[in-house]
Structures are given as C-alpha cells and as structure tokens.
C-alpha cells in the first residue's frame, strides 16, 4: 500500500480555478460553515462515478455506530492525482476531515484523509466550488 501524500487541492489563492471541476457545486449539497472530523473504520469503498465514496463507521460516546458517506472526487480525478483505490482497505482506521451535508444526512465532502494517523490525502486548500 502506498503511503504517499496526495495533495489534491488548488491553493487558496487559486481557488476559483477549480470552479466547475466538480460534478455538482459544493454549496448545492455541503455547508462550508460545517467543518467536521470523523474518526472510524472504513466499512465500504465505492470507487465509482460521479464521485468516490468512502464509508466510515463512527462510534459515538455510547458505542452506537453511525456510518458516514464521505464524498471524494471521481476515480478519474483521483487516479490522475496518484490516489488509487488500493491505498486504503476495508477495516483501515481513518480520520477524515471535511464539510457536512446541509440537509443533516450523514454525508460529508472530504478534504483530508489520515490512515493510521498519517496524512494520505490533502484537499484542504480546495475552495468551496
């Protein structure tokens, strides 16, 4: 498994350049005022279009498991950046940073992924297109 860091984002100063790269506008689904960090276990990976989805099982303080769908770029974009589906596997311990869905669904837009504490994907500089 690769351990390299994938820097996916454009810089803050160039954020507008990324406009229209996404299949849908960020703000049509996600809230830029709702940053969130999840810690859990990868339970499913959908390496599909129009977006990849990393499903992460997260336990709350009472031990109840909630599955979050974490939206990434589409496989064509990720693979062009060097991020492969084999870079993570089911059961991996992940920390995922991103922005939560506006409608309260357990969905988030991924900006960072840590595997066993190591940063393997960084889209933190991407704007909110």
């Amino acid at each position: 498994m690769k351990r390299k860091l994938i820097i996916f984002a454009v810089s803050l100063g160039l954020a507008g350049v990324g406009t229209a790269l996404a299949h849908h506008s960020f703000s049509a689904e996600f809230d830029g005022n709702k940053p969130i960090r999840l810690e859990g276990t990868l339970s499913k990976l959908e390496w599909m279009n129009p977006h990849s989805y990393f499903y992460v099982d997260v336990k709350d303080d009472k031990g109840t498991v909630v599955t979050w769908g974490c939206e990434g770029a589409n496989p064509g974009v990720l693979s062009r950046q060097g991020f492969r589906k084999g870079d993570v596997k089911l059961g991996d311990s992940l920390v995922v940073d991103g922005y939560a869905a506006k409608d309260g669904a357990h969905l988030m837009n991924v900006r960072r992924i840590y595997l066993n504490g190591k940063l393997i994907f960084d889209g933190s500089g991407e704007g909110g297109q």
Binding site: H24, K59, L107, R112, L119
Partner: protein, 282 residues
Amino acid sequence: MLRTSSYRKWLAAAALWMPALVPSPGFAQGLTAPDVKSTKPAPRTADGHPDLSGFWRGTRDTKPVGNLAKDLPGLKLPFTPAGEAARVHNTTATIDPESLCILGGIPRHDASALPFEVLQGANKVAFLYWYSYFRLIPIDPKRKHSEDPDPSFFGEELGHWDGDALVVDSIGFKDTQVWADENANPHSDQLHVVERWSRPDYDHIRVEALIDDPKFYSQPFKYARTWVLGKPGEEIHEYSCSENNVDRDHLGFGPGPIRPDGTRGFDELKPLPPPLPQTTKK
C-alpha cells in the same frame, strides 16, 4: 468518535497550519494547466487544414471559469426580462442538470473547466467530454440546417472551414433542464451559437463564439477561450454518471453563491480542524 466540539480552540491553529498545507502552483492537477509558450506550428491534416485533434485542458489564466459573461464588462449578460426571469428560475428552482447526469451541451462546455478531447476526420470532428458524452459535427459546407430540428443539448451542429478556422453553427437547442454555464445562466430554444475553432500553434486550441438568443438576451455576445494541449497519452476515460449518484437526493437548487470574481462557490470556508501532527514529511 465523532468530534463535534467547538472550533474556537483550533481556529487560530488552523489559520497557522493552512499555509503549510497549501501546495505550490506546481501541483499536478491534471485537469487544468498553466499556460505555455509554444514554439511549434499547428499540425495539419493531409487536406491542409489545421488538425484540432488532442486532449485539451483549460488554463489557469481563464477567469472566471464557468461563466459565459467572462468577456463582458462587469460580467453582465444582456438579459431580456424573460431571460432574467429564467435566470432567477434556474438559480432558485432548478437543480444543476449536470449533477443529475443530464448532458451539459453547449455553450456550457465551452465554459467548463473540465478537459475534453478532439478527434478530427476529413468529414467529421468529434468532441469527447469528461462525462463520457460527445458531439459529432459533420464538416460539409453544403449542408443546411433542418427546418425543424429535434431539440438537443448540443443542438444541430454544422461544420465548415473558413480559412484556418473550423466554424460550427448550431441551432435547435432544448429549453428545459439546461444551464448555459456553471452559474445557472439560462438559454432558450432560440439559442444560436457560432463557434470558430482554431489551433493558433501546436500547444493551443481556441474558440471564439458568438452567442445569440433573442428570447433571453437583448443582443448577441461573444465568448472566447484558449486551452492548452495535454500530456502525451492523456485521454478521456470512462465516466458513468448515474452509476452511483449518491448526491442527487441531497442537492439544493441553483449553483450556490457566486463570488465577486464571477465563479461559483464560497468565498471563505470555515477552517477545518487542525491537522494531525505528522512525524515525517513527504
């Protein structure tokens, strides 16, 4: 554990960390590219026309991306009252058709930041788009538009050469489930687009478009754009849009906020939680 604690503690820390995580302009995105200076002339086909074939990426100098008003003063489109009403409808009562896996068509694709590929033959030219759809344009100066073409997202497109420019004249567009650009600007079924595609040198393709839609715009307006040639071997890949469209039931109306620079999106996102400490750097 799901952490939902207050962000106050890490706001300052995030502000300090973010610059360190911001990549340099040399990042290898692959979808857009810095502009380049070309020293080679455009290739030509056996019949002497410029060969537009290639994998083309938008340049980072194209601003604003996704906005048909890019070349107009104040980024203001000349809406008719009906056009303004259509704009309001699109932004407040419609979900982005592309996010529902409906074809984007033109002129939207001329404004998109996504790469595309051109395959040019003697009598036809194909434009292949990121979302695995295409337009196939006949090159025939004798061919005329149909009297009543079936409405489509790319319109009825006719091509002919005018010197070194491939002129694509298109009418017969759909007027529902269409956004004319990423910002939800509208077009009607009266849309008439004339694109002049050229390859000024080996590394660039350019379009100069005249967009006329008397129902929604009080006068025709121009849109011009240049793309740069991709790397050898780059090509469009398979993209099945409706394969797993998790988002479709969670999408709101419209494009979201439009920034002062004319692109869609948030000006400022609330900072993410502070990055986890890393013992090694790559």
